[in-house]
Each structure stands twice: as C-alpha cells, then as structure tokens.
C-alpha cells in the first residue's frame, strides 16, 4: 500500500488546502505519517465514509483518528531520520546520546534544587537571587553552563506567605534549562498553557495546590528571551536539615509554581 495514495484519498478538502499552504514550511506529509496509515483499518478505508456520514455525531471526523501503530510509525521515522543524518555527516552516531547525557548530568532540576536549598538557608542569597538571578547562581558550585542554552537570562520569582508565583509559556514551552532541565509534559500541554493564564488558582487546585484567596498569584508568561523559575517557600518541619537534605525535597513542579516544594 502506498502511504501517499492513502493519505490523499483519506484527506478532506480542508486538509488538502491546508497541506498546500504549509507544504514548504512544515511538511504535513511527514506530520501526517500517522494519519497516512489510518486506512489500514477497514473502518476507515478510503471512500468508506461519505461526507454526510462524516458529519453525523456517531462518526467522528477523520482528522482526529490515529492509526493503531501511531507510536511504532513515529519511532521508525525518528530512527530513519537520525540514521540518515549520521550517514550523511550532519550529526554523528553519538550526537543524540551525548545531548541526552548532558541533560542527565549537567543541566537538570538537580541544579535548581541546590539553588532553592541555598535560598532557604541564606536570606542574603535569596534576596540576591530575586534581584539578580544570574549573579546569585554564579556564586554556587554548579556544573558549567548555568548561563548556557535556554538559561542565558534567567529570573527567579520568589514566593512568600502572601505571594505565589506561577511560570507559564502560552506561545510555546520556554523553560530554564540550566536549572530545571527539560520541561515535563504538563507544562507543554496546550490545556495547561491556555487555562493557567486566565484561571491560575483553579488550575493549581487541580494540581493539588490550594492557594487561599488571601494569597496573591503572579503568573509569568515567558514570551521573550527571559527564562523564569520559582523559589518555593521552605516547607514546615524541615528545621535542622542540611542543604543537601533540603535540596532533595525540591521538585521541578515546585520550581514552576504548581507544587509547594
């Protein structure tokens, strides 16, 4: 079966028009590889759904159908792309693994946790962190790259008993890599990005975080080149803990403002 033939015969007029618009900038054909094999299922064979049927409530529009091998197809496409790029000398056989290793050892939430733990123990550091984030971070013993990719200009928003901070990115998924590593799925979820802007307190409650009405919420939308993170409040019952013990309590969710620690 030719996937191209299937793709075209299964596409709606809207899809085809859209595909033409985007053909150069963003290959829909590659994006729609999943959709291309939808016809493998007899229920979605080309021509089996008439326009009238497609509009009936019992038959969902084909646009939102996924093929049964959606992930296998994407996995094969990703492997195919990487292997071709290696063969053609664009990247090396180690490039992807070395990037992933960098985020396991050099850039990750383990750095942010150390920053927060120090702020909990050292009020002068905490104040400086809020006023000049890069300068404060530069005083700590952290891996190289704390002003590196996606952290060239970071700002910390410091929580207090009367203020809760929440970081979002409504346009994409901007995230402070050096201190937090890579963004979890919830942060990239269009639903979170949409709702957190308008109803942060409701959203935080869904995350299990009950912010009393008396506490102000400041939401920071990362729309330029500044990357934000939150310094959560030190949790009660942690008196006498060492810096490294405190750091173990700090989560990425706490440093984005959707959890207390």
């Amino acid at each position: 079966m030719s996937s191209e033939t299937t793709d075209r015969s299964a596409a709606s007029p809207q899809e085809l028009a859209s595909a033409q618009e985007n053909a150069l900038r963003f290959s829909r054909r590659n994006l729609l590889i999943a959709g291309a094999t939808a016809a493998a299922s007899p229920a979605f064979a080309p021509g089996s759904v008439t326009p009238a049927q497609a509009q009936a409530p019992a038959t969902p529009p084909q646009r939102f159908q996924y093929p049964p091998n959606r992930e296998a197809l994407s996995a094969a496409r990703a492997k195919a792309l990487e292997s071709l790029l290696i063969e053609k000398g664009v990247i090396t056989g180690q490039s992807v693994d070395s990037v992933l290793s960098f985020f396991e050892t050099q850039m990750g939430p383990f750095n942010g946790a150390k920053v927060v733990a120090r702020a909990w123990l050292d009020p002068a550091f905490k104040q400086r962190l809020g006023e000049d984030t890069p300068a404060a971070i530069a005083t700590l013993d952290l891996p190289k790259g704390m002003a590196g990719a996606e952290g060239e200009h970071m700002r910390a928003a410091v929580n207090s008993p009367t203020l809760h901070n929440l970081v979002i990115c409504t346009l994409c998924s901007c995230y402070p890599w050096p201190v937090l590593g890579l963004p979890p799925y919830w942060y990239k979820d269009p639903t979170f990005r949409s709702r957190a802007a308008r109803e942060p307190r409701v959203v935080l409650k869904e995350f299990g975080l009950d912010i009393p009405p008396s506490v102000e919420i400041k939401t920071w939308d990362s729309s330029a080149q500044i990357r934000w993170f939150v310094v959560p409040e030190r949790p009660p019952g942690t008196d006498g803990m060492s810096e490294s013990e405190l750091a173990k309590l700090v989560t990425p969710e706490g440093m984005m403002g959707v959890a207390m620690v």
Binding site: E15, S18, N22, S27, R28, N30, L31, A34, R63, F64, N69, S74, A75, R77, A78, K79, A80, L81, E82, L84, L85, E87, V90, I91, T92, Q94, S95, V96, S98, V99, F102, G145, G148, E150, G151, E152, H153, L171, C172, L182, Y185, W186, D189, T191, R193, R195, A197, R198, P200, R201, E206, F207, P213, E216, K218, T219, W220, D221, A224, Q225
Partner: protein, 239 residues
Amino acid sequence: MKLQHYLGGLEGLGPIDFEKRVFVQDWEKRIFGVHVAMMALSTQLSLPATPSKFKTVWTWADLRKGAESLNPFDYFKFRYYEKWLGGISGYFVSNGYITQEELDARTQQFLSATPPAPAAGGDPAIDQRINTYLVEGDSPKRSGAMTPKFAKGEKVYVKNVPSVEHTRLPGYLRDHVGIVDTVYPGLYTYLTNTGPDGVGDAMPVYCVKFDPQTIWKGNTDAKAEIYADLYEAYLEKVN
C-alpha cells in the same frame, strides 16, 4: 488570527494532564536530540567550524514557525514531539539534506522484521560543538545606543501587530494596557526577523504587568496579576 497565538485564556479545554515525564515515548528523546544538534550546528552561531554537513540556519524560531503555521486542529491533534518530528523531517527534506523517498524507505526498513543496525561514526568535533553550544548558549543580549522608550511604572498599550507566521506577542495581550514592571538592561535580538510583526533587531525588552480583570472581565482570578516579557516593537505610549 492564528489560534496558536491565542492559546492564553482559551476556554472549555477540560482538565489538565498532569504528566510529569519529559518524554512519554522513547522515540521522542531521539528527535529532541536531533533538534539540539541542529541548533548547535546552525551557521549563524560564532562557534568553531566542524566537518558537519549542516550548512543552514535552524533555531527555535524555525521550530515554532512550523507549529504556529499548522492547521489549529492539527496543533491540538498531535502531541508535542509529534509536531517536532514532522517539522524537523520536513526541514531536512525541503533543504535537500535527504529526500522524502529515502526517509520513507528507511522508515519502512525500521518497521520491518529485520531493522537495520543503528548508524555510527562521525567526527568528534561535531559533538564537541554541540556541547559547547549547550554550555555557552546563544545570548540575544546586545549593547547599543538605543534607549528604552518606556520607564518602570509607565502605562503601555500593546499593539495589535499584523498576524504573520511567527510572533512572540501572546494574543490575549493585544489591544490591552499594562504597566512596565521591569526595563531589562541592554537590548535583545530575536532569533529571526518577523517582518511586520516587528521583532528580530536588537531592541529593549520589558516585563509588563497586566490586570487579568481588564483582559477577561468577570471571568478570571480576583487576586492575580499576569506578567509578560515583551519586545518594545509590540508596545506604544498611552496618551
């Protein structure tokens, strides 16, 4: 109006998926790594040349343009890294690094009962440059004689600039008035020139405070403020 530019404030989307993993499928890691390698090897960076055959520009702006130019239904249909896979594959085909036929044939091989062995080899200088990019970053900050038009505490009006393929102006702020909370020192470029949208060249950037009640009247939090970092091109004086 592009829905992707107006995500902030969109209603009726239901509960949030509190998925804490970064990658929910193993293959997503691979396309992420390819993207970082492309950004690091991109030709506009002033990093040492390598034997890599990558001879074009690839930045976040290219990835974002792809997602922002999608049909909005597809934007919601496809998972985050599915959009990356589509955009990055398309880029390599349309820039002539690979052909669609090669990619399709290789994909079929990996789907087959006897998938090929992973490719190997390459010059270590390529991976060294990727590491250097991650450590050094690509700061958009510039110095220059341009002085900021607005001061801390000043009211500013957010323009409704022409809608183009890519923007850094969240839709929900357009045509609203905010108050400058921070004037960032220095000037900031953006990764690409967005044409009539207005960003790209070095210019002041502000953190601007908005009252959500003026944006979503009667339908938002009673005790909240929303802030956004905005390029000067998006702002004008309130008379």
